[in-house]
Symmetry: C2
């Protein structure tokens, strides 16, 4: 067995499936070559020679995945929240993103971001950068250095955007994308992802060219879908020939299928769009806090799950103010309850088990069949968090499930005692 092989002992908690938790008090999870070899109530004989990291009664769970986050928006998170999506894009997001033409600014701002997410509970993140190739590479350099495993995408936008944040035509956008991709070969932990911002900001010629690039490089893709009612109407006006928002991607063959595709939001996704997502294996990045802050609505997650669609959670910073996917879990439960009371009483609220699954294995699956985090079952990438929840004290004994519920609602980065990505310790080294 290799150098990076070890065993962790602690109070383990992970998802068996969407609706069931596995918990092991004083259990063992074995890491071999960066992957889980399984979790055990007693350590099997064959692993007893491996180094043991004994975290006592700390809670050990899989790392979390943030399926949707805008790197350049971290700087203004929790600002300008009194506005709706399209106004907010014009007054907050676009002007701030335009500043990333300045690489010095990008360096300063992305440093704040990467230090912050490195300390947080996500071990995997899927980032939007900006249209700027140099700044996108600065972000990817810093992420690579952080030890996190990420997708990051230089953004494409050539219409319906301010002069300061619009590429000068489809050809220029496509050329910049190829230039960016050519520079991405050096990364081990950060992979490029094709990132047309959303239909309104991408011309037909750009979409067509991106589809060609996607096939050439077999690139995954991320974008936005059916976030607000006003945006859905706008897409219908912009693309009168498309059968709807999803079709505005699908007609260019940019809607799932062979390559992993994730669409953020899907708040106003109707039956037809849901059907199409199920057929094409498109992931949903559910971003409950952003959908609340920007007054977008509440996504029909229960229906997605019933249709077998892959769903993960996104912070959508800075539509969301919080980077923590624990917060996204509790937000997802909370908005699902309000959806049931106010809009769709047949859709049962999400449970703790379900949102924990979405924030771990659910979103983690986007990282691929052979590199997925999110569970301690054998074969999963070994991404883990050690949580010191002693400060979340109760006057009585708590079960592991209760401790998990508390962590979901109350924990912050103070509670993260250690963090592992693909078997590597990000902090701190185990001291024994």
């Amino acid at each position: 067995m290799g150098e990076a092989d070890f065993v962790i002992r602690g109070d383990l908690c992970y998802s068996k499936d969407l609706s069931r938790l596995e918990t092991l008090t004083g259990g063992y999870v074995v890491c071999l070559k960066g992957k889980s070899a399984g979790a055990f109530p007693r350590l099997p004989e064959e692993y007893r020679s491996l180094p043991l990291q004994d975290w006592g009664d700390k809670l050990v769970i899989p790392g979390l995945t943030d399926l949707h986050i805008h790197a350049p928006q971290f700087g203004f998170r929790a600002l300008g929240m009194d506005t709706e999506l399209l106004t907010w894009l014009e007054t907050r997001a676009f002007p701030e993103e335009a500043r990333y033409a300045d690489t010095e600014y990008a360096r300063r701002a992305y440093r704040l971001l990467t230090e912050h997410v490195r300390r947080g509970p996500s071990t995997r993140l899927v980032f939007f950068a900006t249209i700027h190739t140099p700044a996108s590479l600065i972000l990817m350099d810093m992420l690579e250095e952080s030890g996190l495993v990420c997708f990051a995408g230089k953004v494409n936008m050539d219409r319906n955007s301010p002069d300061s944040l619009r590429e000068p035509g489809a050809d220029a956008s496509l050329a910049a994308t190829r230039e960016w991709l050519a520079a991405c070969g050096k990364y081990r932990n950060v992979r490029p992802i094709l990132t047309p911002r959303f239909v309104p900001s991408c011309s037909d010629a750009l979409m067509k060219g991106l589809a060609e690039i996607q096939k050439e490089y077999a690139l995954p893709l991320q974008s936005h879908l059916s976030e607000t009612r006003r945006e859905v109407r706008w897409v219908r006006e912009l693309c009168p020939d498309a059968a709807g928002y999803a079709d505005a991607y699908a007609r260019w063959d940019l809607f799932g299928g062979e390559v992993p595709t994730v669409m953020a939001h899907c708040v106003w996704t109707d039956e037809g769009e849901t059907e199409r997502m199920a057929e094409r294996g498109v992931f949903v990045a559910h971003c409950p806090q952003s959908n609340t802050n920007l007054a977008s609505g509440i996504a029909p997650v229960r229906r997605f799950l019933e249709r077998g669609i892959s769903v993960g959670l996104g912070s959508d910073v800075a539509g969301g103010a919080h980077t923590s996917i624990f917060r996204a879990m509790s937000d997802a439960i909370q908005v699902s309850k309000l959806r049931q009371i106010l809009a769709a009483e047949d859709d049962a609220p999400l449970t703790l088990e379900e949102v924990f699954y979405l924030g771990t294995a659910g979103g983690g699956a986007f990282f691929g069949k052979n590199g997925a985090p999110g569970s301690f079952a054998p074969g999963y990438d070994f991404d883990a968090l050690v949580l010191d929840d002693a400060g979340l004290a109760a006057p009585f004994e708590l079960s592991i499930r209760e401790r998990l519920e508390r962590a979901v609602y109350l924990s912050d980065d103070r509670n993260i005692a250690a963090k592992y990505v693909r078997g590597k310790s990000l902090f701190p080294a185990y001291k024994g």
Copy 2:
């Protein structure tokens, strides 16, 4: 000028009124005998001999008021959140509250609570205790010692409650209440408040007796009103002679008027009930997170404000998982947006200015005309927080309003550098 007189310098922010903030960069606020003598851009000559506590560019705001919190529920906050109110009361709240018959348990649990809220952003809190006189006095002893200014109420409940948490009849409940009140004379910072739990758990005889006690002692009163649809229906069944939930209190003259009265929730309050609250000067404790967690609904706060009703914010721990009234502020904005999208498009969402007012001066007004916190305008009690928000870094300069918005969404107790209640420093002493 007395010993406790001093001047604070910092970046000041407080409400002028419901919709306007006053901000002063490097401003001065003067504390004389525990009250604000006003905030000034330059320190008036007459105050220049007072000791100056210069907090540099830290943010200085009024202390926050938590208008509704259940002390015995702190121990199980963020647990059992996958249930609705009446089920949650039966399975979580009532069994846990029953344990406070044991004074040792109460002492251990209330110690956790009081240490936690002392470190948090609230300088004023309005507590429900339990039915137990000894445990209620233990809570009040600890609150008195903490330096916080509070109302706390021994709870009355003599029906529709489990055997372990039901007083043996109205007479016993009333006698225990008098016994409790007789022991409250020793407190300087903690005042008793009459606390019939809610209509379903109080018999007519108990209500009648409480009204007599209220008149005798001129006691303020707190209870619950129109929290869930199921509860509202239940009250109609229990009180067929009352015109509705509010009337079930009002017919015993327990619904505002001479003495301050606060009703938690008011989610399903209709026009008639709203009218009655306005007429009788009843305060609303708006508890957005609890109303979400327990699937109760979203209170029509915009309508309350339009009618001139006094509204403050409540954490409602443990319906709410978080004690911070900053969190209640952002929750209040967020649910108001969802209410507009999903239920009542004519009700404009709450703004940052509005929720900040509700969490400071709005709820603070419940503490009375001559002892109200919540502003730095002259005459208010000097309750203040010094916030060190340097860790909530941005790559650009922030205005004071932007820093406030960030604090509302992102701050936690790490950001509270100092805390003053009625001019007394709770922590830390200013070191110069």
